[in-house]
């Protein structure tokens, strides 16, 4: 009886989260295209130089993510919260991987699958409309997992990573890229002290759960992952959103009323500006955490001695051209 009740609660939670998140991401893709870069990556870019363009930062971030995951042609990748498929297509088109993305947004999945068809990649990449708690794939089907800018919508990271681990091969790599908040703010939230701005941000994104970095790492470790590397990329997100805001303002005439109501447009203006301030003042942080699935005690492949293979060096333009 208790188990049935819990399952019912979980179903309700999944329904709520799916609807709430969709309310943000089911806005027309043309609206997001009005401020994102050409890859439609709705997450932090990577700036090897302050003067990088948004396009260069997008490419750099994808390259860095691929490097951290040590992508190879034979990889089968799961992208949890795949958005409009920027990483899926990057992995498939640049490395020849197989890739599956999940999203709760029907609009995003339809977009990814239509692009896959248009590019003749239907047998290599697809997006499934499924909540992370309802994922169902064969055991150890994937050897790489990535989640970029999605954990912010997930209430229980222990459940997320415990659910993900069985689908990943032993020693498989997982990259978690997402926002956190400083412990001081998170502690207040756990004590029931909510901020007006915090509640508004959650409403804007449909649903949001910003954990602290150590909570994220705890969830990974307790789910059987060994943390290999952490990089604070908050400054990169600030620069990214500054460029989104510029583009949003430049494209006002094209977007307002033609694609979204003016109030929606202006709400996005405010939240982007707010995020810039949030990153600048360390109210909001952004991280990339690389880890691998382990069974403690087993002999493991030796790790590289330095970070050389998982860093991008400073430089103008798109670093992918140099590799």
């Amino acid at each position: 009886m208790k188990a049935e009740s819990l399952n019912s609660d979980l179903r309700d939670l999944i329904d709520f989260q799916a609807k709430a998140v969709s309310s943000h991401y089911d806005l027309p893709p043309k609206f997001f295209a009005g401020f994102l870069g050409p890859r439609m990556a709705y997450s932090c870019g990577y700036f090897a130089d302050e003067d990088n363009t948004l396009e260069e930062a997008e490419e750099n971030k994808l390259l860095l993510t691929a490097k951290k995951l040590d992508l190879k042609k034979e990889d089968t990748i799961l992208d949890i919260g795949c958005g409009w498929g920027s990483f899926l297509f990057y992995a498939v088109e640049n490395f020849g991987c197989q890739a599956v993305g999940i999203t709760v947004s029907k609009e995003q999945a339809a977009f990814v699958n239509s692009v896959a068809e248009a590019r003749g990649l239907k047998d290599k990449v697809r997006a499934d409309v499924v909540h992370v708690y309802n994922m169902d794939y064969p055991r150890e089907f994937f050897n790489k997992i990535v989640t970029i800018g999605a954990i912010e919508h997930m209430d229980d990271l222990h459940r997320v990573f415990s659910k993900s681990a069985p689908f990943l091969k032993e020693d498989g790599l997982m990259l978690v890229h997402g926002m956190t908040k400083p412990w001081s703010a998170r502690e207040e939230e756990l004590q029931g002290i909510s901020s007006e701005v915090g509640e508004m941000v959650k409403e804007h994104f449909g649903v949001g759960y910003w954990k602290s970095l150590w909570e994220l790492m705890e969830a990974l470790e307790k789910s059987g992952f060994e943390i290999l590397d952490h990089e604070n990329i908050t400054r990169h997100y600030q620069l990214t959103v500054e460029r989104w805001l510029e583009r949003l303002q430049e494209n006002e005439a094209m977007l307002v009323d033609n694609i979204v109501p003016e109030e929606t447009y202006r709400e996005f203006l405010v939240f982007m500006a707010g995020y810039i301030v949030g990153f600048e003042t360390s109210h909001t942080l952004c991280n990339q955490i690389l880890c691998r699935k382990i069974s403690c005690g087993d002999l493991r492949p030796a790790l590289p001695l330095t970070r050389e293979n998982i860093v991008l060096h400073s430089g103008k333009g798109c670093l992918c051209k140099k590799d």
């Binding site: 805001l245 303002q249 109030e263 202006r266 709400e267 203006l269 405010v270 982007m272 301030v277």
Partner: protein
Amino acid sequence: MVPKILVEQPDIARRVNAVIGIELTGENGGYWTLDLTDTPVIERGKTKEPKCTLTAQVDDFRDLLTNGSVRAALDAFKKKRIQASGHLPTILKLEVLLKSLSKQNNVVA
């Protein structure tokens, strides 16, 4: 004229660290320049080039100062009762100042 809160807590101004223009329309309206780059200074008229400018009706601006609600400010902005030009993030840094002003008697020093 400088609100008391800025005299007592100049750190609030330093967090904004910018020149902001405030243009109020309607009765008793006008243009004010807030220089929050160092010791806070508020002057009538456009005395310095602002990093951003906030424009509103006097009554709407008074409501904003009175209730100090960020949600109310967002609603006003969405409905274009508050307009902003220039560097939008700087305007949002006024949040702390607005909240402080709404909590205190807005006495000028």
